[in-house]
Amino acid sequence: MENIILGAMALGLLWSVTTLGIYITYRVLDVADLTLEGAIVLGASVAAVILQQGGSPLLATAAAMGAGALAGLVTALLHVALKIPALLAGILSMIALYSINIRVMLGSSNLSLLRVRTILSPLMDAGCSKNQAALVAGGACTVTVVVGLYWFLHTELGCALRATGRSPQMARAQGINTDRSKVLGFVLGNALVGLSGGLIAQYQGFADVQMGSGSIVIALASLIIGEVIFSRGRSMWLGLTAMALGAVTYRMIIALVLEAGMPATDLKLFTAITVAAALYLPTAKEGLCQALMEEKKEEKRYAGHQSSVKALGRRHSG
């Protein structure tokens, strides 16, 4: 049981970097960027191919991030320079990346990392299990990214990015070059997605051209789980941390559904039901609190009424 929980937490932390990436595009910049589905595989393929050629894990991970940034840049240029709507620009990048990813993996659709040293190897040499190592690496990465983003979003450049997402007209009126901000947002978001893809490939032991399918849905689910359960538009610290917690929660839910021994073909159905239940929880709790409070008020009113009746009675008798 501990191992599956540990594994789910590790996976969640590795995925949380993707969730933070989509937070930049979907929440801060306010565009739905589908580049993610391709960028996550691009990160994985770049990391895998470098590792297979004997490159160092750190270089492979950094290159994965760089490749993701490049994918973001392409989407951004399609959007900003060619004036293609953001949604379609993302879709185009995603489609193109499918072929590019196969090229990156030297014509193969699946590269194995089972027999090479990865970024987790030094930790495993030190006696950690694979899941513990991934937990440490994923945790360190997530904390770094959260702190880094917090800092960045408060710099002048970061503020310009946020302003562009909130109201492009207003931002332009303030002298912000919104096109530049958009490019920055796409690049930054997809760099994180690429980084996450590179880490996931090293953890699961392979890069596969199909591994991105459905990732946008998972990332959005994690983002919304994070927001609904852990933060509701409060401080930025909480907002960023909630992304990580959301990704971990999503993975936990899958682990728990698996643990519960549902019929194998119902995995996705029960995942959806559990996510729906988790999202309803805060609302249900608020409803319950409200009902309780009203009951208390009712009691108070009733008690007040009683005492006034008594007081009246005393006055009459007196």
Binding site: M211, R234, I254
Partner: protein, 343 residues
């Protein structure tokens, strides 16, 4: 202050509900099990003791399902009745495979059956102790699963679904005398398909015939691709390609209408719309894997068991229904190979 307390309450409510969910699950039994005491002579574990096999399958797919059924039957036929199967399906999501692998490792299952390459890679990365039997993997060395096919070296061995491509191309020449151009259809992103197509082209060229090809990336593109292909060839060859296999009904519709004979890599594909195959029966392949599993249960070291290839790959299957629809007269010597899909 108040906000903080609310936050804690909210978190604890979530934790409680998740714990409840997990609690409910404890009572649930694994998906498929065949309990009861050992009845045969072969069972190594004693009466009442069960042997747990975790089954990790990449996605729902007729060929993969049959591997599992064949595997189970092999164990049953040899008296291993007290085996509990913990069947888990990644439903096509590679990240789920990682969590399924964790489940098997934390439950300390006695053996894992991995169906398809991604599933085998996911579990191989998680344990070096639990013996792993894999099937529906074409090349174990390319997938990085073993040191070599002859001596795997680790805790993993299994059966390959590499199909006899050259023999299948020969089958086209036998079934369609006078064939000039053979059309090839496959998903260019599937490693296994690319490898098979390379072999197919070599075989076709060796026979002095021509080939033409179309590639697709998902099953929704099959219709269009096939329509363009059938106008350019006399016969179609489709390797054991997962995407094409999922789209066989569509593919069969197009080739039947164009009256083009189609030879496929697997008999499951033939039954869903192809004309003929000579090749792998995934049920038999699963059965063969099951026999290997029995050796491991009796103490053999998977690291020293060579990867096995399908033993009965000379079986020709011809879909009688399709033959009638395209007006194809089955040659005398193949009359016994004609089957009709159960409807």
């Amino acid at each position: 202050m108040n906000t903080g307390r609310k936050e804690i309450q909210r978190l604890s409510a979530l934790a409680l509900s998740l714990a409840l969910l997990a609690g409910c699950g404890q009572g649930g039994s694994p998906a498929a099990s065949s309990g009861g005491p050992a009845s045969g002579s072969g069972a190594s574990s004693g009466q009442g003791e069960t042997y747990t096999i975790g089954v990790i399958q990449y996605m729902e797919h007729p060929a993969m399902d049959q591997c599992y059924e064949g595997f189970v039957q092999a164990l049953k036929d040899n008296g291993y009745d007290n085996v509990v199967y913990d069947l888990q399906n990644g439903q096509g999501d590679t990240t789920n495979l990682s969590t399924i692998a964790d489940r098997f490792v934390s439950r300390k299952v006695d053996m894992v059956l991995a169906i398809a390459t991604d599933a085998a890679q996911a579990i191989a990365g998680k344990t070096t102790e639990i013996p792993i039997l894999a099937t529906a993997v074409t090349s174990y060395t390319v997938a990085g699963l073993v040191d070599s096919d002859e001596a795997p070296g680790g805790n993993l061995t299994g059966t390959s679904d590499m199909n006899p491509v050259a023999a299948q191309i020969q089958l086209i020449a036998d079934l369609v005398p006078g064939v000039q151009t053979i059309g090839l259809a496959y998903n260019s992103s599937e490693d296994n398909s690319v490898l098979q197509i390379k072999l197919a082209k070599e075989a076709i060229e060796a026979m002095g015939l021509a080939w033409t090809e179309v590639t697709i990336t998902n099953s929704s593109e099959a219709q269009q691709a096939m329509l363009s292909l059938v106008s350019k060839c006399d016969a179609v060859y489709i390797p054991t390609d997962n995407t094409m296999a999922s789209a066989m009904a569509t593919v069969g519709g197009v080739t039947t209408e164009a009256k083009i004979p189609t030879v496929c890599g697997a008999d499951t594909m033939v039954l869903e719309g192809g004309l003929a195959t000579m090749g792998i029966n995934y049920y038999e392949l699963g059965y063969q894997t099951g026999l290997m599993a029995i050796q491991v249960m009796q103490g053999a070291d998977p690291g020293q068991m060579p990867i096995q290839y399908a033993q009965n790959s000379d079986a020709v299957t011809i879909n009688g229904e399709i033959a009638e629809e395209i007006g194809y007269v089955v040659p005398e010597q193949y009359a016994s190979c004609v089957v009709y899909p159960e409807s």
